[in-house]
């Protein structure tokens, strides 16, 4: 019996869904470990979640300040060594700003903040965070963001599509105008995943539209136990 998987959840000033991410980690059977933005240490965790919110207020550009925090420097280094990292919403924006994932998230095409229960298709199960889904599974996960429109240059988009690195795609209506309906992507190694929808808000039927977010957190435990 392996020791409990420890999953770090980063709190920046202005993080909002950090306690929700910790709750989801716990619901999946792992131990959430709180990581502080100003501390240059990952406390030996087995994986990291960058949660949603408005880090440092995001007044300049979403994620633009957070990428310079001491904890993100540690995460960037560890991700290069294979540490599983999940960026949700603002966390996805931080991962793009930090260069762990290509592209950028810009203002929604409709110019409004959008909060709705969104249908997605799981496009890649070859990641540390999606292995428990079936290929092509259709899941419902809330989106809630004002700057979630995924964009990248044509070459990058082509490469992502060709390499199967689009992890999630919007179905039944694109909430923000993202290119190719892209909701989330992964890095080449499959240990880093970023997505705009919020799996931590789909872990129990009482408070979410589904329990479709739970496998994302269970996947990383599975992946780590298997190692």
């Amino acid at each position: 019996m392996p020791a409990t998987t420890r999953v770090g959840v980063v709190t920046f000033p202005g993080s909002l869904d950090d306690r929700d991410a910790a709750r989801a980690v716990k619901a999946a059977g792992a131990e959430p470990v709180s990581l502080w933005h100003g501390d240059a240490t990952l406390l030996g965790v087995d994986a990291v979640v960058l949660p949603g919110g408005f880090s440092y207020g995001d007044y300049l550009r979403a994620g633009a300040i957070a990428r310079f925090s001491p904890v993100v420097a540690e995460i960037v280094a560890a991700a290069g060594d294979g540490l599983p990292v999940l960026g949700i919403c603002n966390g996805f924006q931080v991962l793009c700003e930090a260069g762990l994932l290509p592209g950028a998230l810009i203002r929604n095409a409709g110019l409004h903040f959008v909060c709705r229960d969104q249908l997605l298709r799981v496009e890649s199960t070859a990641t540390r965070w999606t292995s428990q889904y079936d290929d092509g599974a259709e899941i419902v996960i809330p989106v809630k963001h004002g700057e979630g429109r995924y964009v990248a240059d044509a070459t990058t988009i082509e490469q992502l599509e060709r390499d199967g690195r689009v992890a999630f795609r919007y179905l039944g209506g694109n909430p923000n105008g993202a290119l190719n309906d892209i909701a989330g992507i992964r890095n080449e190694a499959g240990n880093v995943v970023g997505l705009m929808p919020h799996p931590e808000h789909a872990i129990e039927l009482l408070t979410g539209p589904s329990v479709d977010g739970l496998p994302m957190f269970a996947s990383v435990i599975d992946a780590l136990v298997a190692v």
Partner: protein, 754 residues
Amino acid sequence: MTVDTVQHAAETPDQPQPFAELGLKDDEYTRIREILGRRPTDSELAMYSVMWSEHCSYKSSKVHLRQFAENPPASDAMLVGMGENAGVVDVGDGLAVTFKVESHNHPSYVEPYQGAATGVGGIVRDILTMGARPIAVMDSLRFGDADAPDTRRLVAGVVAGVGGYGNCLGLPNIGGEVGFDPTYGGNPLVNALCVGVLPHDRLQLAQAKGTGNQVVLLGALTGRDGIGGVSVLASATFDDSVDETGKAAGPSKRPSVQVGDPFTEKILIECCLELFDAGLVTGIQDLGGAGLSCATSETASHGDGGMRVDLDKVPLREPSMSPLEVLMSESQERMLAIVAPADVEAVLERCAKWGVLATVIGEVTDGDHLVITWRGEVVVDAPPASLADDGPVYHRPLARPDQAQDALVADTSASLTRPSSGDELRDTLLQLVASPELCSRRWVTEQYDRYVLGGTVLAMPHDSGVVRLGDDTTRGVALSLDGNGRFTRLDPHDGAQLSLSEAYRNVACAGARPLAVSDCLNFGSPEDPAVMWQFAEATRGLAEGCRALGTPVTGGNVSFYNQTGATAINPTPVIGVLGVIGDVTQRVPSGFTSSGQHVVLLGDTDDELDGSAWAWVVHHHLGGRPPEVRLDAERALAAVLVEAAERSVVVAAHDLSEGGLAQALVEACLVGGTGASIELDGDPFVALFSETAARAVVATEDVDALRSLATKHHVVAKVIGRTGGSALSIDGLFDVGLEQLREQSEGTLPALFG
């Protein structure tokens, strides 16, 4: 910069002062001179002008609001009643909740985004001040006619402001309401509610006690924004005048609107909660309307001594600010903490961790005056109670405007043409469903985060917002926010009670036991006897209603001067009812989600169409008498709904209000995605569109159990159909498909404002 010191004021008693420009009356100015025994300094005059403003002093409403506190309904749940920043209610398990609704109407007209945003920010700080973690917000909004030229600007700005602030602060928005009426055209209403939860022993009070304790200012820098907000904006009427440059007066008041920074508020919340948990503060007050003037005088007044404040210590955004400006500034995201000297260092450390600016600006003294210095000179030396508690109290003249009111009441809806054939009824239903009054609010609510914090069990479009109080409890609270300005215009007393009834009913529909009330009373000018009559009638009705329903008023807010020129808004008491639900897994949603269930109408229906959505939408008519108030029936209905929820007898419940049974059925079908087949008795028009109070429609699989509950509480229960299919079918009259209903309902707001 020369400054008007206390010494200078004593030496120059005859110096003319601009008290009228600051909104003070002759006799108020005379009284200030009597209190001080000299003329006030410029800074003192400014402080009295804001503290004695209608907004801060409740000088016109106090005599009427007393009835909420003097003869409250029996309730063992109240921990803190009216008078503090927000009332606190015991919900069991050692937990308490605090909630309050407040207006930000005038700033939102002048500058919709910031006005609405700081409205949310202000009410959230009120809740934080009680020692509570804010857990949800709601908003009640009123605008002019949906297609009026200025409405789009206001709707877009206000909705973006409520959303922008709440979303960035990380508070779920769990419900509220949006209304349109021409009377709000030049004076929209933006009322925001916040609810917070606290363990009993974390309760904080706004008092400065203990000689030598330090006064610590937390949060944002103090700047020139919002100066005079409460006196210039909130306590006067917008007129149609133009300023000297020929521009409308509204924009010229823009500097009086505060600017919000939700990120600073978010870290201020987390930081303050850490300070509370560590027991590091002995008193705390937020800085809202009237800024430092209000926070220092209120905490000193509620303490046991005096207070000394050194304005040179206040961190400024603009160093050139005068002492008067520092005292008047309504810069947002600031709190005033009273801290024992031994704890100051610990407080500063925790603030540094969160990046919250914290500065000692003064201390509690054993004197009885609030003494404020600037550059070594005393600029304020006044008894704090004279500012905070002993302001003027008016018995404003009030008079029912007999001629106009009698004419309004006599002009009933009886003469209006009613639909009768199936096609006519169907067309009427579709017209109502698509109207701005009744259409889907999705375009608004999609701009609000309802998921953050992970405790939202129900949110709009359900009847109430329901929030779980923590991860380790199933206990939750339900909240609804309702107001009906048209009913209140027809009869202020009954209209207020009907608004209360609706919010109470909504909470019960979700399966929660209604416990307490917070009210935001939006009215025209108190200097108009007809408006004062509306106010007196509405407060009397509300106090009676709360006694009859057993739900005390815990606090709230009065907003006067909501009028443009001589035209007042429809009197609009917006009522928030809070209920408690022991097990949130028993909550009852409002939509029909599966087929084959019995649809049951609870309550009697009479022919009550005056003031209805039908009369307004179809005929643009407002007149007659509002529906009869049925407080006993409301209580009985709520008892049935709550017991039915606890015993899992109903699977859906939706209250009947604007638009009657027709609208309730449409919403239940659309929210749950399941149709229904309905059979009606009697006049189908009355059955569908009457707005008789004390009714709800429920879906159940166990009609017998529901009937026996209804019988026990003497509530009429009538099976009117079954759920199922993809249409709403009214037997023998018409069918309308859910897809068409959805298009009608959801298309309206995006077409107007998208």
